[in-house]
């Protein structure tokens, strides 16, 4: 078949299309965004599947669940912390079970290249008691996504596909196989399975638990979990999961003989294969991208008598951050290599920054000036480009926790006596998770000021569409019940600076809830429009 150049994310997207996808949903987030971007690009021009950005991950997951109920194949994709937002439908989808194949793609970000944490989604799959597939390379990403839909329909559960940044954002060539048609004949789900009243839920959970042996049997037999015993390889056995396999294979060539190893790419992990490896060796090195998930199970409380277990928990590998071939080489006892050093020369850091001409820069400048005369103001912020306002020259914000937390934390802060208590949140983040806490603040008319930075797009992740922008955003905020006198709209431009400072000061002095919408289009969008 055809060989094409794809990002890991795109290999997943293409596989889903060719697996007979009926609909896919997502919310932007690095490193998962390119999955939906590929689907959106390829759903144009009369192809017969739906590919939609959604207002948040929970909504995306529920929409996919509706597709599965209807007997069609659905995929939902997001970054690891997106699964926190979607956790409610995700966990309960394991209880209802899947009807049409349902694949949940989660892209973890070890090393936090673009994230607030490096949580490992394999724990979520374990928690939900479903299958998790973890490809090591592009071809596996393609093949395993195709298979994930089949497995979901075979076992009638959602299947998680776990990616990590280095695979999601790496490009290589992939061999594709013949496309499959969409589902035609599956009946809808039955109400007894899908209405999780306690009586139904108890029965469904029992079914899920009874299925665990079948999932384990799949893991024992799949070609993706490869046990290679090499008696010449010494008394060390290596357990590698996901892309850790690549680093191991890369550097193991430098050892006198390759150690015996087990490559794990599906969970629940293959216990019998793991036992067979352990029997052959005295020392086990566990190499995983993410948390020490398998390692912790292996160690248990008392370890394994007579065996040494090494990995992230004994310091053989760092407990945080991303793996590299060099770290894996060191854990295998290979000498460290390095190239030229810049020596004593001081390399100035070049952190990401707001673009020249960014509207957020003007808003922060005005906000900083308006707050200058207050002794202890606090600006709670949120997730987006504007989080860069924490850095010089702005030094404008004090918090960034999770989507929407600016508004809720500002309310809590105000109730604890902070004044002025300011929330700064982007338009898309507001639509995602800011509306409900603002409704809360309206209800108690909390003395706080919410600044919505409306640049009309999800800029940080590549200018995806925003759901709460422009005039409809004004109506949305007004519709929550905010006093119309304290809904203000400003245009953050250098020429409006004095006027904007004045508006912000007025609202900061209001002893109740105010919303200031700072509206100017993202300059990336302006640039894109100019080019096209």
């Amino acid at each position: 078949m055809e060989r094409i150049v794809l990002l890991g994310d795109e290999a997943v997207a293409l596989a889903a299309i060719q697996a007979g996808l009926t609909a896919a949903y997502s919310y932007p987030g690095t490193p998962a965004s390119e999955i939906m971007e590929f689907l959106v690009r390829n759903s144009e021009g009369g192809r017969k599947f739906t590919a939609k950005w959604c207002v948040n991950e929970k909504v995306a997951c529920e929409e996919a669940l509706g597709v599965s109920f209807a007997g069609k194949r659905a995929m939902v994709s997001f970054k690891h912390v997106g699964l926190n937002v979607a956790a409610d439908p995700f966990i309960n989808a394991a209880i209802t079970g899947a009807n049409g194949g349902l694949v949940v793609v989660v892209a973890d970000d070890p090393g936090m290249h673009s994230s607030q944490d490096e949580q490992d989604s394999r724990y979520y799959a374990d928690f939900a008691r479903i299958l998790c597939l973890e490809p090591a390379n592009h071809q596996e990403a393609y093949n395993m996504t195709r298979e994930a839909f089949d497995l979901s329909e075979k076992f009638r559960i959602p299947v998680m596909l776990r990616l990590v940044t280095r695979l999601a954002h790496s490009r290589s060539s992939v061999e594709t196989s013949a496309a499959r048609e969409q589902n035609k004949d599956l009946p809808y789900g039955t109400w007894q399975d899908w209405t999780l009243l306690p009586g139904n839920a108890r029965r469904r959970f029992r079914i899920l638990l009874d299925r665990q042996d079948e999932l384990l049997e799949y893991s024992e037999n799949t070609v993706y979990n490869q046990l290679v015993l090499n008696p010449a390889g010494g008394r060390l056995g290596v357990v590698v999961t996901g892309i850790a396999y690549n680093y191991f294979k890369e550097v193991a060539a430098g050892l006198p003989a390759e150690p015996s190893y087990l490559k794990i790419s599906t969970y629940p992990f293959p216990v019998a294969k793991l036992r067979r490896l352990i029997e052959q060796v005295d020392e086990i090195l566990v190499i995983e991208e993410g948390y020490p998930f398998v390692e912790r199970f292996l160690r248990g409380v008392t370890g394994i008598p007579g065996k040494v277990i090494r990995g992230k928990m004994d310091g053989s590998l760092p407990a945080s951050g991303e793996l590299t071939p060099d770290l894996v080489a060191r854990a295998l006892g290979l000498p460290e290599k390095t190239g030229l050093k810049a020596g004593e020369f001081k390399l100035a850091a070049r952190p990401p920054q707001l673009c020249v001409g960014c509207p957020h820069a003007d808003t922060y400048k005005a906000l900083n000036e308006a707050l200058r005369d207050f002794p202890r103001p606090v600006v709670f912020s949120d997730i987006g480009c504007y989080t860069l306002g924490a850095l010089p020259p702005y030094n404008a914000i004090q918090t960034c926790v999770c989507m929407g937390a600016s508004v809720s934390m500002a309310k809590g802060g105000a109730e604890a006596g902070i004044h002025p208590s300011v929330a700064v949140i982007g338009d898309s983040t507001f639509a995602h998770s800011g509306i409900t806490p603002l409704l809360d603040a309206v209800h108690s008319d909390t003395a706080m000021t919410v600044v919505i930075l409306d640049n009309g797009t999800v800029a940080m992740t590549g200018t995806q569409p925003s759901f709460g922008t422009g005039e409809p955003l004004d109506r949305l905020v007004a519709g929550l019940g905010l006093d119309p006198n304290h809904l203000r709209v400003i245009v953050p431009l250098p020429k409006n600076h004095q006027e904007n400072v004045k508006v912000i000061k007025e609202e900061l002095s209001h002893q109740g809830l105010s919303v200031i919408i700072a509206r100017r289009e993202c300059i990336q969008i302006v640039g894109e429009k100019k080019r096209s």
Partner: protein
């Protein structure tokens, strides 16, 4: 055959376009490749890098081990130095000499050049000047690709072909500008 490249620059300078051309040329010539890129937050004017690996057999790691890169190809001089520890002792450096000064503590440029010249094989290219000569200051990435092409294990024709593919949607004039940029970079590196 195995050839490992670190691509470096500042977000927005178009190193992913360089990667696109090399990836596709490699595929056309029957080579395997893997290319790890940076997306998301770092793209906003921050340091960006891509590990690009070519081989005539299977490639395992998406990342290049330290001390193993055959080439550092950088569109910005300070960024060149950031990845020096990846370079093989006999590796080559192809670097732009045009600084991108969006930070307040940018070092003295002459000192940056002195450091770059410590690499046994180094080519410094005035990418801004050559890109202007080609017709657009935005074509500095293709100038640098042209300069690096004298080291790459790829045919000039395959690279030119995918420059054409990359820019054809933007019209024949932009294709010509970028091909010219490539040629000027290649000539400059040969001197």
């Amino acid at each position: 055959m195995k050839y490992d490249i670190i691509l470096a620059g500042v977000g927005g300078q178009g190193i992913l376009s360089i990667a696109f051309v090399i990836d596709n040329a490699a595929l056309e010539e029957g080579l395997f490749f893997k290319q790890a890129e940076v997306h998301g937050m770092s793209q906003r004017g921050g340091a960006v890098q891509s590990h690009l690996r070519l081989a005539d057999g299977h490639i395992y790691s998406d990342l290049i081990p330290l001390g193993q890169a055959d080439l550092i190809l950088s569109v910005e001089p300070l960024e060149t130095l950031r990845y020096f520890e990846y370079l093989k002792p006999d590796g080559a450096v192809v670097s732009s000499s045009t600084p991108y000064t969006n930070i307040s503590d940018y070092p003295v440029l002459e000192e940056v050049f002195q450091q770059i010249k410590k690499a046994p094989v180094h080519v410094l290219i005035d990418s801004e000047k050559l890109a202007r000569e080609a017709g657009s200051v935005r074509a500095q990435n293709m100038v640098m690709l042209g300069a690096a092409s004298i080291f790459l294990p790829l045919r000039e024709g395959s690279l030119r072909k995918y420059i054409q593919v990359l820019f054809e949607k933007r019209g024949p004039q932009i294709v010509q500008t970028n091909l010219r940029a490539f040629d000027l970079g290649r000539q400059a590196a040969k001197l």
